[in-house]
């Protein structure tokens, strides 16, 4: 099962199934918080010890949607009953709207001697 999910994700990526950002980033932010995504990924999708970074993700939209519905990895699956494809599209738009992080070399606190 785990392999199948991974294969679906790879296939989705390889076939370029992702569409343009059809979602609404503002709604996506509300859904990201309201459905509990922030709990593991942070309010900004920055990631941390409980979940990977999602902000500005390189995953295609369809890949993300497929993963959320089917994962049997560390993340529990969220079925379409719990979060619809449309809601995930909104979340995807929100994640892509996050400001690109600055180059760490330009942040003095990340270059302390």
């Amino acid at each position: 099962m785990k392999k199948l999910v991974y294969a679906a994700l790879v296939a989705a990526t390889a076939c370029g199934l992702s569409s343009a950002f059809a979602g609404d980033a503002t709604k996506g932010k509300a859904t990201f918080v309201g459905k509990g995504c922030w709990q593991c990924h942070g309010y900004e999708g920055q990631g941390g010890s409980a979940g990977p970074r999602l902000a500005n993700t390189q995953l295609p939209e369809d890949g993300l949607i497929s993963f959320v519905h089917n994962t049997n990895g560390i993340m529990p699956p969220f079925s379409e009953k719990l979060i619809s494809d449309a809601e995930l599209s909104d979340i995807y738009a929100y994640l892509q709207s996050r400001p690109k992080p600055a180059d760490p070399k330009t942040i003095p606190l990340l270059n302390l001697k």
């Binding site: 942070g42 920055q46 010890s49 970074r53 529990p76 992080p101 942040i107 302390l112």
Partner: protein, 655 residues
């Protein structure tokens, strides 16, 4: 048959010892009523009595020295004599009647020095303070707890100390003599086998019934606690034993000499075999959890790692290995190892296997994460002390060489064995291995800072920003991160320069929430005496288990900078309940909060800065704007440097 508790003639110790014989005596005469047998009726005395000899002497002679009413040196004074030989500097305790005699002796007879009594609001705080203190100094403290209920309060802290292999001397009160102890509360708080509640997670416990037995018990308990694997011990003291005079039957009391035990080292044959396997490995990885008991343990581990050019995973039970060293690595490197040397691991199974909480029917599944055929060597003193009930021993992991021995004590012999067996060909490989390792290390550092930069300006403040703003202010001090509870994605260990043993003290051991606040105060107390700057990253949920320890810090002028990771939740549980809802394919009920009902600490938000202020701390908050954080930390540091504790209530991202 009966004797009043404050009667002049009977020695209570002899009474206790004679209790068995008395029990065999004939029953009370049939003519005595039940009520009379239970309580002697008061005698009717005339209103005026002729003076006795003592009163006549008092009125007609020069007054002599005032003697105490008990007619000699109290037993608890002797107990203080014993305790002082062990050089126990503090006793953080919550006062209680069952050890009132020892309390009085410590502060008056013992001049409140070694140990100095520190006022605590909760027994768990006393144990937690002793826990943190030890991890800075390597010396145990003694904490006194009330009979039954006080010990019950202390239990979670004791379990944490047990799992974290930290010695704490718990002295409990008890009032054993059911015939003479006060009725009511002291009897509620007495027990026949009072230490049974902690026996499964202490190394040893005792209930001495004579002062000589106490002397032996105290020295024995200290020795057991301080023999690796370290651990807590509990000694219960009868109230009568504390309160009554030493008396003639205790003549010849002596205090046994304490000799620090040497730690158990690995057997030489196994050490040589381990060296042979390490040298034969292409990619040996060392995993250390509580390996470096002392600063010397770090030096030894660096020497072994460089000798082998082996990557080191520091699991962080203690500060084992400098994170600035090019051989320092995250846990992922074990996947490519052909040999793993585990040093004082609390869970070797989890080093080579993984558990994913997302299997069929809501049950997790196991999978291997190490290479097939990987060789495993374990050096662990904990294998010398395994108890049955609590499951801190984790899953069983088969290994190729098992040394039930203290890792730090074994490392010198292992280093020598590696040196003596190393061929010139093997030594020649080291330069190439080192070059490769240095390049990989630089790449890792770059990835860490890139991850930290994400959401750098976010509000609530990112945990990476929190940690780096803090580090920026303390980096030039002789700092000590005394606790980091609540999970800030491990940023201090990833980005701060951790090189000294006191830079990182590890975690609670048993994951009992409520460790961070008291352990921080205890460690800060130790660092105060050593002239170091203490900082803690204090989570909200942890603080609220026993926040009274803040008052203890203020009262005893313990300087500590406490920067809160206030994510307004018991965040681990937020995710657990969400996970359950997802498994069951139903929406999670958040009520009016941002997460599942029962897991959030909001509505209302707790104003921790006001809480701290009310207990004598300098405090500020809530800080939500990352731009305000650096200046606030600077302000708080000035307070801490003046000798006071300071707290910043910072609203943070979840992790």
């Amino acid at each position: 048959m009966t004797e009043p508790r404050n009667g002049s003639g009977t020695d209570r110790r002899r009474f206790l010892k004679g209790a068995a014989l008395a029990g065999a005596a004939p029953a009370i005469a049939a003519t005595t009523s039940v009520a009379q047998a239970q309580v002697a009726a008061p005698r009717h005395l005339p209103s005026a009595l002729p003076p006795n000899a003592h009163q006549i002497a008092a009125e007609t002679h020069t007054p002599g020295p005032i003697e105490n009413r008990i007619g000699g040196k109290p037993g608890s004074d002797f107990m203080v004599d014993v305790i002082k030989t062990l050089d126990i500097k503090y006793t953080p305790s919550n006062c209680a009647s069952s050890f009132r005699a020892l309390h009085e002796s410590i502060i008056n007879y013992g001049d409140n020095k070694a140990p100095e009594y520190l006022s605590c609001m909760h027994e768990e705080s006393g144990v937690g303070m002793a826990h943190g203190y030890f991890k800075v100094t390597g010396k145990p403290l003694m904490t006194m707890v009330h009979g039954t209920v006080g010990l019950q309060h202390a239990t979670m802290g004791i379990y944490n100390a047990w799992c974290d292999r930290v010695p704490v001397i718990i002295i409990g009160g008890n009032d054993l003599d059911a015939a003479s102890r006060p009725p009511g509360v002291p009897t509620f708080h007495a027990a026949q086998d009072i230490n049974t509640i902690v026996r499964d997670y202490t190394k040893w416990d005792d209930m001495p019934t004579s002062l000589q037995a106490f002397a032996q018990s105290m020295v024995r308990g200290y020795k057991i606690a301080m023999t690796p694997p370290y651990g807590p011990v509990a000694i219960s003291l009868d109230a009568g034993l504390q309160q009554e005079p030493i008396g003639a039957h205790n003549s010849g009391l002596y205090i046994p000499k304490f000799t620090m035990p040497s730690p158990p080292a690995g057997e030489m044959g196994a050490v040589k075999d381990a060296a042979k396997m390490l040298l034969a490995a292409e990619n040996p990885v060392i995993v250390a959890d509580r390996a470096a008991r002392t600063p010397n343990g770090i030096r030894l581990l660096v020497e072994l790692a460089e000798l082998l050019q082996a990557q080191v995973v520091d699991q962080g039970g203690r500060m084992n290995f400098p994170n600035t060293h090019y051989l320092a690595r995250g846990a992922g490197v074990t996947a490519q190892a052909d040999l793993i040397l585990g040093l004082e691991l609390s869970d070797f199974w989890a080093v080579v296997n993984s558990y994913t909480d997302n299997g069929e029917h809501g049950i997790g599944y196991n999978s291997a994460k190490a290479k097939a055929g990987v060789k495993l060597i374990s050096i662990s003193s904990v294998e010398l002390l395994t108890k049955a009930n609590y499951q801190d021993f984790q899953r069983f992991q088969s290994v190729d060489i098992s040394m039930p021995a203290d890792a730090e004590a074994t490392l010198p012999a292992l280093i020598e064995a590696v040196k003596s067996q190393m061929t010139s060909e093997r030594r020649a490989q080291n330069d190439q291995r080192a070059e490769k390792a240095k390049k990989a290390f630089a790449d890792i550092r770059g990835r860490e800072t890139a991850a930290a930069a994400v959401a750098w300006d976010a509000s609530p403040i990112s945990t990476a920003r929190l940690c780096m703003e803090l580090y920026n202010q303390i980096k030039d001090e002789d700092w000590s991160l005394v606790a980091s509870e609540g999970n800030v994605s491990n940023w201090p260990n990833r980005l701060w320069k951790m090189e000294k043993h006191h830079h990182w003290l590890g975690r609670s051991g048993g994951y009992g929430v409520g460790y961070g606040a008291p352990a921080s105060v205890g460690a800060a107390l130790a660092n105060r005496d050593l002239g170091r700057f203490s900082v803690s990253i204090q989570s909200d949920g942890d603080l609220m288990f026993a926040p009274g320890v803040l008052w203890t810090a203020a009262k005893h002028k313990i300087p500590l900078l406490s920067v809160m990771h206030n994510n307004r939740a018991w965040h681990q549980e937020v995710m657990h309940v969400q996970r359950m809802a997802s498994f069951r394919n139903r929406p999670s009920n958040y009520g009016n909060d941002a997460g599942p009902i029962g897991t959030m600490i909001q509505n209302p938000d707790i104003e921790y800065h006001k809480l701290a202020e009310s207990m004598g701390w300098w405090a500020k908050g809530p800080i939500k704007d990352p731009a305000q954080l650096g200046p606030a930390i600077k302000e708080a540091m000035a307070v801490v440097k003046s000798g006071q504790p300071a707290l910043l209530n910072v609203w943070t991202q979840p992790r």
